[in-house]
């Protein structure tokens, strides 16, 4: 009898631990990359210190070509000819990313820094009655605009969420003949400029005397803008509800209506909430429609149909270009509050949609 055993080479230590040799680059690569970044930067710094060429010119006319050449040389010396095109893409891609990051960073930092100057309890809780653009920051606030935003957005939510969900239910559950058309119209509606939504409400409700410029009128305009967002997000989440759940319930003798109301919508409730929040986030900062349909008011207004009303965006709008520094600081303060609202909505939607859909 012969026993055959495969010849196994001795096991080395590095054969037992996972390695990622492709992340190891030869020293020449790091050397070339470092020089490719460092030399252009050095020239940039030198030119900036010794000449008075305007910085944008310096960046675009001097630094960018230098950086492209530097990267190309580095790439050629390590990867050969086929690395050159890639090096340019990398330079442009990293450049685009840094540029966008600077823009976003500048916005967020300015909003926070300038906004904090205005922030104090009275700023949040008081309204702006008796406040003129030149009144010092110690007096008056945006309480009325916060109330206005909540009132308008609240009414808009009550109007648009049921309609948006119904639209989604039509597309995913009822599946009528008109599904492609409904989807097309929802898509088209999402392209309606916000100012046009305001003009529409103005024509239909205000110029005809049905409503006056008020929270309700503004809310209708907001609802027009919210509806497509809610409908499309809700459609996506309803599609995620497993088909078995529907057929199972139907097999038990449920009616279509019961299946939707008692099975499908509850199964997708997180998604439905997400749809609502995304809709709110879409409109909460909209200004143009309110300028046409809700006007402004320094008083705190709680009656949705009686008076014009201010909201955060319109408050900011009114104070942006004022020649008084305190008014501008108020605008930044309101912008910070609005941005906090948007961020909270944004974070909640991220959190909700990151959760796995329930099976």
């Amino acid at each position: 009898m012969t026993i055959l055993i495969a010849e196994v080479p001795p096991i080395r230590a590095e054969d037992l631990t996972p390695q990622r040799p492709w992340t190891q680059r030869p020293k020449s690569f790091w050397f070339a990359a470092l020089l490719g970044i460092f030399i252009p930067l050095l020239i940039l710094g030198g030119l900036y210190a010794t000449t008075d060429i305007a910085p944008p010119l310096l960046l675009i006319v001097f630094y960018l070509p230098l950086q492209l050449i530097g990267a190309a040389i580095a790439a050629y010396s390590t990867k050969g000819k086929h690395g050159i095109a890639d090096s340019s893409i990398i330079v442009f891609a990293v450049g685009a990313t840094i540029l966008s990051a600077i823009v976003l960073g500048s916005m967020l930092v300015t909003i926070i820094v300038r906004g904090f100057e205005a922030l104090r309890p009275s700023f949040i809780f008081q309204n702006s009655v008796y406040i003129s653009p030149s009144t010092p920051l110690e007096y008056g606030g945006i309480g009325h605009a916060i109330v206005g935003t909540f009132l308008i957005v609240g009414i808009a939510t009550v109007i648009s969420v049921p309609l948006g969900i119904a639209t989604a239910v039509y597309v995913t559950e009822v599946r009528g003949r008109a599904v492609p058309y409904v989807r097309f119209f929802v898509q088209a509606m999402s392209g309606v400029p916000s100012v046009v939504a305001g003009l529409f409400v103005l024509t239909v409700f205000i110029l005809t005397g049905v409503l006056q410029q008020s929270a309700l009128a503004g809310a209708i305009a907001y609802a027009i803008l919210m509806l497509p967002t809610v409908a499309r997000t809700a459609e996506e989440v309803l599609r995620l509800v497993p088909e078995d759940l529907r057929t199972g319930a139907l097999a038990l003798g449920s009616t279509r209506a019961r299946v939707v109301l008692n099975v499908v919508l509850p199964a997708a409730r997180t998604g439905v909430v997400t749809a609502m929040l995304l809709g709110i986030a879409r409109v909460v900062g909209e200004t143009a429609p309110l300028l046409l349909t809700a006007l402004k008011n320094d008083q705190t207004v709680t009656n949705p149909i009686s008076d014009p009303i201010s909201a955060l965006p319109t408050f900011i709008f009114d104070n942006v270009a004022q020649p008084y520094p305190d008014a501008v600081t108020r605008a930044w303060g309101a912008a910070l509050v609005l941005m906090i609202l948007v961020s909270v909505l944004f974070t909640i939607t991220r959190f909700l949609s990151a959760r796995k859909p329930r099976k």
Partner: protein
């Protein structure tokens, strides 16, 4: 031979008989439900039709009164007898600004999307996706505020430089030496608003490049550039163009962010993008609404809004057609 017989059992007299005709009743609830849902689903159609009809109804008398000149002239004479209005400068201005924005936003968005999808490590990519979405969520009035105080001052310097070095191009001519309220600045602001929209659509499209095609390209020794050029971009072309068109539609209708940085001049500014002149329809409506001198002028603004609506509708319809066609081609 045994025969098999069936015994027929009589129904017990107290067995309740199922009346199947009653089962229709349960369906009535369904029918009400279906009708309600179907009705609600047509809200979007109703709103679109309403906008077309009501704004159109306001636009017709304006165009009748002003003639075709409403769309082809640039006069804005509210006190004349009779008053004269023309929005050609505004319509052209909207398009001009939107294209300046495209010119800046598209390359930045493409490269940003490529960085997110093909270069950045997974964590960085996720972070960037969130930041891009956050940028898209910043209200336009805040962007306008930021632009007015932070962007405009340096932007005047940039335009001065453009004029100094490239002033021989008609595009960068400026005889006044004044660089405020120009289409260029408005275009930069719109570009900032478009970048997140175009980037997220492009990134989404690039992410959907089939892995088997990327594998094939890698196994043939592709570089980043050749993979993009021959595989990812041809595959995503339709979706990317659709995304750009969606951004364009948004840019045409954007009002508030542009409002603070664009000066309205009743004139067609064909291409002097760093000299103030022209305007945009959406901004005109907001700027003039507060100071209208009578019902007719409100109607004029409504008519302008009607044409803005038509313009964005067409752009969006084309965008959707492109996106849909490419989706169908891919099955």
């Amino acid at each position: 031979m045994a025969t098999l017989t069936w015994k027929v059992l009589p129904v017990a007299p107290d067995t309740p008989i199922r009346d199947l005709s009653k089962s229709k009743k349960a369906n009535r609830g369904d029918r009400v439900f279906n009708t309600t849902i179907t009705g609600a689903a047509f809200t979007s159609l109703a709103v679109l039709a309403g906008i077309t009809l009501f704004l159109g109804a306001k636009a017709v008398p304006v165009v009748q009164d002003q003639g075709i000149g409403f769309l082809t002239t640039t006069i804005w004479d509210t006190t004349g007898v009779p008053p004269e209005y023309g929005i050609a400068g505004m319509l052209y201005g909207s398009v001009l600004i939107a294209f300046i924005a495209l010119f800046i936003a598209v390359p930045v968005s493409m490269f940003l999307a490529v960085f997110m999808v093909f270069m950045a490590p997974v964590r960085v990519s996720k972070l960037l996706t969130n930041l891009v979405d956050l940028m898209a969520a910043i209200p336009s009035v805040i962007i306008g505020l930021w632009a007015f105080y932070i962007l405009v001052p340096p932007a005047e310097g940039w335009q001065d430089l453009l004029n100094q070095y490239l002033g021989w191009l008609p595009l960068f001519q400026n005889d006044s030496g004044n660089f405020t309220g120009t289409p260029f600045v408005a275009g930069v602001v719109l570009a900032i608003m478009m970048i997140p929209i175009v980037t997220s659509v492009t990134a989404e499209v690039l992410k959907r490049t089939p892995p088997e095609l990327i594998n094939a390209a890698e196994s043939l020794g592709c570089s980043m550039w050749t993979m993009l050029r021959y595989v990812a971009l041809p595959f995503g072309r339709g979706g990317i163009i659709g995304g750009i068109m969606l951004g364009l539609g948004r840019a045409l209708g954007e009002t508030i962010a542009v409002f603070f940085v664009l000066k309205i001049v009743y004139d067609i500014n064909f291409f002097n993008i760093i000299e103030s002149g022209g305007g945009s329809v959406a901004t005109l409506i907001v700027a003039k609404f507060g100071e209208t001198s009578g019902d007719f002028e409100v109607d004029v603004l409504l008519a302008a809004g009607f044409f803005l609506f038509l313009m964005t509708l067409v752009v969006n319809a084309i965008a959707n057609l492109i996106v849909r066609r490419t989706e169908r081609l891919k099955g």
